[in-house]
Symmetry: C2
Subunit: 231 residues, 2 copies
């Protein structure tokens, strides 16, 4: 009797449908201007039903953010697991991250709103922990690469890999936020240059001065190669 299993599958699918509808509306109209009734209508359900699947608007929203996190994680893990030389790998990962954010600006907006926000507080602990766990995963991924770089002598020994990862992450999100939210502080067309400069600053700050231990090929090979980051 696999009825129960099918039931569960259908339940998950419905949940997913609501999530999709919510994502679309959130991206389209922003968090505040999207009502739960809107979402229900978009998913062709009544409001009450939405609340059968998500405990609150905030939880629904958090789930949307989480969804995107997971996609990004897949993309970055691929790069991290590839066998490029360390320095190129760092470039590639940072570049991919920037690219991801720039090509999904609405989505990025949502994530940032979550990160800096009132939403986080009124969230079931379980959901918040879930998100935090995924953030940690991404950071550990970065930390791993940095650690590898230290072992190979590319990066300074006194760098804390996890902290370095944190710093890079927050720097990029901070800047992207600025660009994408589009205050008049940065012109859109300077995006490329700004992000490049930030990544460059990070690399120079993190790298060993003398490039010791005969591993300089990685360094010179990648110098000047532009990381992809579609404008």
């Amino acid at each position: 009797m696999s009825t129960a299993a099918r039931r569960e599958r259908e339940r998950q699918r419905r949940r997913q449908e609501i999530l999709e509808a919510a994502r679309g509306l959130f991206c389209d109209k922003g968090y505040a201007s999207t009502t739960v009734d809107d979402i229900a209508a978009a998913a062709e359900l009544s409001k009450g039903t939405v609340y059968l699947y998500f405990r609150s608007k905030d939880e629904l929203y958090a789930s949307v953010v989480l969804e995107g996190f997971k996609k990004l994680e897949v993309r970055l893990r691929e790069l991290a697991d590839s066998d490029m030389p360390v320095q190129g790998k760092v470039d590639a990962i940072l570049g991919a991250f920037v690219d991801h954010c720039v090509s999904n600006p609405d989505y990025f907006r949502l994530t940032q709103l979550f990160a800096g926000g009132s939403v986080r507080d009124n969230l079931p602990k379980e959901v918040r922990d879930d998100i935090e766990a995924h953030a940690r995963d991404l950071l550990l991924l970065g930390a791993g690469v940095v650690e590898r770089g230290i072992e190979e002598g590319v990066f300074r020994r006194d760098l804390d890999p996890f902290m370095a990862s944190l710093i890079a992450w927050r720097t990029l999100t901070g800047l992207l936020d600025l660009v994408i939210f589009g205050g008049q502080l940065v012109r859109r067309k300077d995006t490329q240059r700004l992000m490049r400069q930030a990544m460059d600053l990070f690399m120079r700050g993190a790298m060993n001065r003398g490039v010791p231990r005969g591993e300089r090929e990685a360094l010179s090979r990648e110098r000047g190669k532009s990381p992809k980051a579609g404008d």
Copy 2:
């Protein structure tokens, strides 16, 4: 007949009283959980009166943020105008910024909420521009110092001063946000080390390698000096 002038003064004072009440409550209970009725009660006024002085809760909130911006600006400008050697000056400014945020965490919270948020959108253009102008001032202040550093040969020539300023700013706020909002990603006691590492990374990334042009005294003099940044 100076009645009109006095009227205006009293009006401004009342405005200030409301602002004070709002700041207290916002810091205390956060933006979302503070109602306009709360604010009115705290200022010993009725809600309607609050709306005589501020067009919306958001505008009121933005004004609170702006207020703090101005205070910070005073503090940083003092440092920027002092005659330390450039490198020490940068350390001091960054340190003071960090200090300011760490010692007013609730306040910092508010600022971040504004920066990353839904609030900004529903804001009278005039208010938004005002805030942005002040942000720009702070950035130009930073850019000025960097520019000076470039002239003196301390910083790399290919650094864009304004961008460097942007990068430093966003890096620090991003990290502070993380620490102060207190996810489990960073332990509170690591704050010092994290911020130090971030500033260090920035300095190393921005500095000239060879320290040319006979201005090395500034460099060695300041090396290892811990910037103040009360925990």
